[in-house]
């Protein structure tokens, strides 16, 4: 039993080691270049994954795209040049923060529009509710007032 457990531990350890090993270690000429690299792989989307950026993904295309980013940085390309390179090939989809333009308008402002609509709905709902409650109270008060008046 103990043997089985230690085997299991070893297995689990080896799994995490292999996943670690898949993200390449890279050498950078200076800190600025490393910052640019990290920013780019965080900003660019892994195209074959659901909601992962290049930095997080072990997908093969993501590995190659990271290598391309690294190569272009070494060739002295700027961050915007590299982002543009990817956008001309893969479209705005490759960016986690697509630029605001007519085709991405709903993407950027859709949630706020829905929030606004929901807000309007809630406010009008509450208003209506309180109005009808108030009128019920008013009627009761009126009845009471009438009965008091009648008593006199």
């Amino acid at each position: 039993m103990i043997k089985f457990r230690s085997l299991l531990c070893l297995l689990l350890l080896s799994v995490s080691l292999t996943t670690q090993a898949k993200i390449e270690s890279r050498e950078f000429a200076d800190a600025q270049m490393e910052d640019d690299y990290q920013a780019l792989v965080a900003e660019l989307r892994c195209l074959v994954c659901q909601n992962q950026n290049l930095a997080d993904s072990n997908a093969e295309l993501a590995q190659d795209m990271r290598a391309k980013v690294y190569k272009m940085l070494n060739e002295g390309k700027s961050k915007t040049e590299i982002a543009d390179f990817m956008v001309t090939r893969y479209g705005d989809f490759v960016l986690y923060r697509p630029p605001v333009k007519s085709s991405t308008f709903l993407l950027w402002f859709g949630p706020f529009i829905f929030l606004l609509l929901a807000g309007i709905f809630v406010v009008s709902f509450i208003r209506r509710q309180s109005v009808s409650e108030k009128s019920v109270v008013d009627q009761q008060l009126q009845k009471k007032a009438h009965s008091l008046l009648d008593d006199e």
Partner: protein, 183 residues
Amino acid sequence: MARFGILIGFFLLMGVFAVVLDRMGSGEYNPRDIPTEFIGRAAPQINVPDLYEPNTIVKTSDMQGQVWLFNVWGTWCPECWREHEYLMHLKTQGIPIVGLNWRDDRSEAQSMLSRMGNPFVKIGFDPDSSVAMDWGVYGAPETFLIDADGKVVAKHAGGITPAVWQQKFQKYFTPVAANGQQL
């Protein structure tokens, strides 16, 4: 009156969901599909060695003046195996297809073609995605159609089937049989 409005809104939303689901079901709409950036643009360069002859460079300009297909495939891709037979059929129809063997092993790719037939006029060998990235490829198989002026006019992500062929590609080819006669 307001109740009525909410009800109408609800049914409208339901209608939208039903239409999207229906189109997804009939394969017209793929939520994972990434719209291509290349329609109407000049075809990118290929510029990698040939799968069979490492000293020969496969180039986009080799195909100038022809309407041709550019098909990205790999032996690791099951859908590529499925579409292979149809690509062989297109070859017999005289359709020129340039292949891009993507992220693959040279000898495995060659042995697959020797077993299943080679539908390609040329095959670029792209182990590190350099050509794939230049064409905005994100999966295999992917097929582009390039016109005689070297412009990309159509693209399909996924296997080529007779239905896909008729819908997207056939109209760009004047029917020519393998023996060169008009069909």
